[in-house]
Amino acid sequence: MSSRIYNCLSAIADVIEENKDFLTDLDREIGDADHGVNMARGFHAVQEKLPKDEADIGVMLKKTGMTLLSTVGGASGPLYGTAYMEAGKVLAGKTELTSADFSAALQAAIAGIQKRGKAERGEKTMLDALMPAYETFNAKTAEGASLTDALSAACEEAKKGIEYTKTIRATKGRASYLGDRSIGHQDPGATSATLTLETILNCLKEN
């Protein structure tokens, strides 16, 4: 039988595959038209290579990160690869997630992306979805919300973050070459990051 964490990673792979063309089209507008294809290739490898019965979330996230590093190809490889590996370090030995675990893992993932991409919030990147989501998750948790309720609110903030990326110009990555012409387009990375959070939410709700 496959573990819950494998099923969740596999669900992320399915969602990325379903949105492959959408993500690539977004990237065609302001980048090099490879985000969907690259992410789908990476997560297809995750689906294929990871041990289905491994239940240790930390081990599985680290393996996911290593696999993405060697299969994605574009900038999302080292960015998502680092994010998953950093989250995996925090969740070593865990087979269940508490709200505190989820918060710590998301914080580590964001810190990893910031370190790797040398990016800040407001630069039209996945951080514009993930950072407000993280803050909302913590705020809702502090108010007493359950893990899934807090994550649900966080996903709504991430979606607002995607909308926000339409209003700003890119200063990082390939889109920065476009300058003001990047305004009006949503960021593909913020989009794939939000899809990831929404898929994790659905997986947690199912259990």
Binding site: N38, M66, G77, P78, T82, R116, G173
Partner: protein
């Protein structure tokens, strides 16, 4: 002897840069390519880069020349993965073609890592028009 790793999104670019550099430093054996993905597609792979750094390392350090975007991020990821292996590795803030050529010449005459990088960085001032 200092090793050199050439990181590009394209395996052809990496191989071509190596050929050019090798022409200037024919007896130098420290050049290793990490171009493209394992399956031959365009992209960079931190794990292949880490392997190339290990291969290039002869104990006197390794300098990495990278093209744009994820080549640099993947190289930095590779360096982090190698932190416990005690290899002195640095990314040169220099053009990949000119930098690699100058570094190969400098490394082939036995210069230390700092010197190899310093000479490679001078190529940033090579004006073409």
């Amino acid at each position: 002897m200092v090793g050199i790793v050439i990181v590009s999104h394209s395996s052809k670019i990496a191989e071509g840069v190596k050929d050019l550099a090798q022409q200037m430093a024919q007896n130098y054996t420290g050049l290793v390519c990490a171009g493209g993905m394992e399956d031959g597609s365009i992209g960079t792979d931190a794990i292949r880069i880490a392997d190339a750094i290990r291969q290039a390392n002869q104990g006197d350090g390794v300098v990495v020349f990278a093209d744009l975007g994820s080549a640099i991020m993947s190289s930095e990821t590779a360096m982090e993965m190698l932190e416990e292996e005690n290899i002195n590795v640095r990314i040169a803030d220099a053009p990949i073609v000119e930098g690699s050529i100058v570094a190969a010449v400098e490394a082939s005459i036995g210069s230390p890592l700092d010197r190899v990088i310093e000479e490679a960085m001078k190529t940033r001032e090579f004006h073409k028009a």
